[in-house]
């Protein structure tokens, strides 16, 4: 009986940190020195430019469908929808698609991340789906999102919008619309978060340095 209590593999329960996605949480990792990358003005400017590019390249803007990868993609997709309405007068549906159950590292790491909301307001069949994520690195999240998307129907095309492309791709995924290309080191973390406390509207992107001791970092999570 005692062996049972202590039987959890030492590594299990960690691995959430390995996620390339990031949450727009205020004050997370506040101990580390965060290097600002994009402020809210930069982000808004990028999203407005991307909205123009989307309209420019779309044959039928009425057929667009924004799908956010949580958590970071959600505020960006909403802003993009607002921009598209402003630029072209189109009302683009915004869905949210959690990719957790489609991740390829659940078995190898044994981690069981918390699930997030999936909400697809209408069918994706025949639509041009724009997957929206905050930070794209390995491409594995986008791969998972594409698999998830196919379970909701057959879009006519899938395109990818990333606010930050930090390189280090591990899969043949390219972004169709990019806010900013940022060369980064592998260990660094790039995160979209609220710029000020209690101000969820103003977002910023920061670079967090790699934790000094990875072992200690995992334990504290």
């Amino acid at each position: 009986m005692t062996s049972q209590q202590s039987a959890r593999p030492p590594g299990s329960g960690t691995g959430e940190k390995a996620s390339e996605r990031s949450a727009p949480d205020a004050g997370g990792g506040s101990q580390q020195v965060a290097r600002p990358l994009l402020d809210s003005t930069d982000i808004n400017r990028s999203l407005m430019r991307i909205a123009h590019e989307i309209i420019e390249r779309s044959e039928d803007p009425e057929n667009l469908y924004l799908v956010a990868v949580p958590n970071g993609g959600i505020p960006l997709a909403r802003q993009l929808a607002a921009n598209l309405a402003q630029v072209a007068g189109v009302d683009v549906p915004v869905g949210v698609l959690d990719t957790t159950l489609y991740r390829d590292d659940l078995i190898s790491t044994g981690s069981r991340p918390a699930l997030r909301t999936t909400e697809m307001p209408s069918a994706v069949d025949g639509c041009v789906v724009l997957l929206v994520d905050d930070v794209v690195k390995t491409g594995r999240t986008i791969r998972a999102a594409m698999d998830a998307l196919m379970d909701f129907g057959r879009p006519r095309a899938v395109q990818v919008v990333g606010l930050v492309d930090r390189g280090h791709r591990e899969l043949p995924i390219k972004l169709d619309y990019v806010g900013k290309n940022v060369p980064t080191q592998v260990g660094e973390e790039v995160r979209l978060r609220s710029a000020g406390e209690g101000d969820s509207e103003r977002l910023e992107v920061v670079v967090l340095p790699p934790p000094p001791d990875p072992g200690a970092g995992e334990g504290s999570k």
Binding site: M1, Q4, S6, A7, P9, A114, R116, E119, D151
Partner: protein, 317 residues
């Protein structure tokens, strides 16, 4: 933190329960999709090891496993081999050699899942053991209450029926107490276990008092097959005194919900009309059962990656 096996609600703390319920809430959405399947447990094997007959729970686990893309094997050892306790462990060891990623166990004797967990490398999920616990039933009940009421804390939950023989009651008492609800029991005195107050519940022999102000009423199945009629003078008398109908429900709150773990003896625990219509939420319970078991398989199955890791980890720790 959630342990390796799910043997009973008694072993869980409030955070564990909430984590399972939160996960299940997201699993509900998968059941509403056109393609009700995600690839999460692809290549993983879930074994349903049912020593005791069960249709509903087994089907629920089977669908849950399949919706997560696991391979689900139903293993129903013949009744003759049950009598020797040795053969249970032999069966378990044989199964273990086939490297399952989770084993779901039901047995008519309390404690068998725990005994099996001691010899298995794979995580064990208790699907009901004797009159001990039925953790996934209690969790799906808690999920249903949370969905219907928006919360569990502060609610009054009245459980009616054969508490003494009910693993559902026991698991529900643990679950609802840990989630901060008030739990009342109502039954004929022989069906109330002595000393049950130490679980933090109050026992009533008057249904009317037990129902006064209740938010949730849960009727338990009268198990004729287990009782042999020894605990109540007659089923008709039980039904007249403790069977729920709309008139008796007037004592509870206006927005009371009625639950039952199924299968319902119509006209005994619940009137015909209550078994099928609001405020009963029995079919919601069944639907939530699949989502809840998906959550349990997601959180427990295939986490210990190597068979026998228990011994290694236990020795090191």
């Amino acid at each position: 933190m959630i342990g390796r096996d799910l043997l009973g609600i008694e072993d869980l703390d409030r955070e564990d329960i909430v984590r399972i319920l939160d996960t299940a809430e997201h699993m509900v959405e998968i059941g509403e999709r056109e393609v009700k399947k995600v690839p999460t447990l692809r290549g993983r094997t879930v074994v349903n090891l049912f020593f005791e007959a069960s249709t509903r729970t087994r089907a629920s686990f089977e669908i849950a496993g399949k919706r997560l893309s696991a391979d689900v094997i139903n293993f129903t050892p013949s009744a003759s081999s049950l009598k020797k306790s040795e053969s249970i462990l032999d069966t378990a060891r044989t199964l273990d050699a086939m490297d399952p990623d989770a084993v779901v166990v039901r047995h008519s004797v309390a404690g068998v899942p725990r005994r099996i967990a001691d010899v298995l490398g794979a995580p064990v999920i208790n699907a009901g053991d004797g009159a001990h616990e039925h953790p996934t039933q209690a969790l799906l009940d808690a999920l249903t209450v949370r969905q219907q009421k928006g919360r569990v804390e502060g609610l009054t939950v009245t459980i009616i029926g054969d508490i003494l023989h009910s693993r559902v009651a026991r698991s529900n008492i643990y679950a609802f107490r840990k989630l901060g609800a008030e739990v009342r029991l109502a039954a004929p005195p022989p069906m109330i276990p002595a000393g049950v107050e130490c679980l933090g519940v109050k026992a009533y022999t008057s249904l009317r008092e037990a129902l006064d102000g209740a938010d949730v009423v849960m009727a338990l199945r009268i198990q004729n097959e287990r009782l042999g009629g020894a605990y109540v003078p007659s089923i008709r008398e039980y039904s007249a005194t403790f069977g729920l109908d709309r008139a008796k429900l007037d004592f509870a709150k206006d927005d009371v919900i009625v639950m039952h773990p199924g299968p319902v003896n119509r006209g005994v625990e619940l009137s015909h009309d209550l078994a099928d219509h609001r405020p009963s939420v029995i079919l919601d319970q069944v639907r939530n059962g699949v989502a809840l078991r998906m959550a349990v398989l997601y959180l427990f199955a295939g986490r210990a990656t190597t068979p026998g890791s228990r011994e290694v980890a236990g020795g090191a720790g």
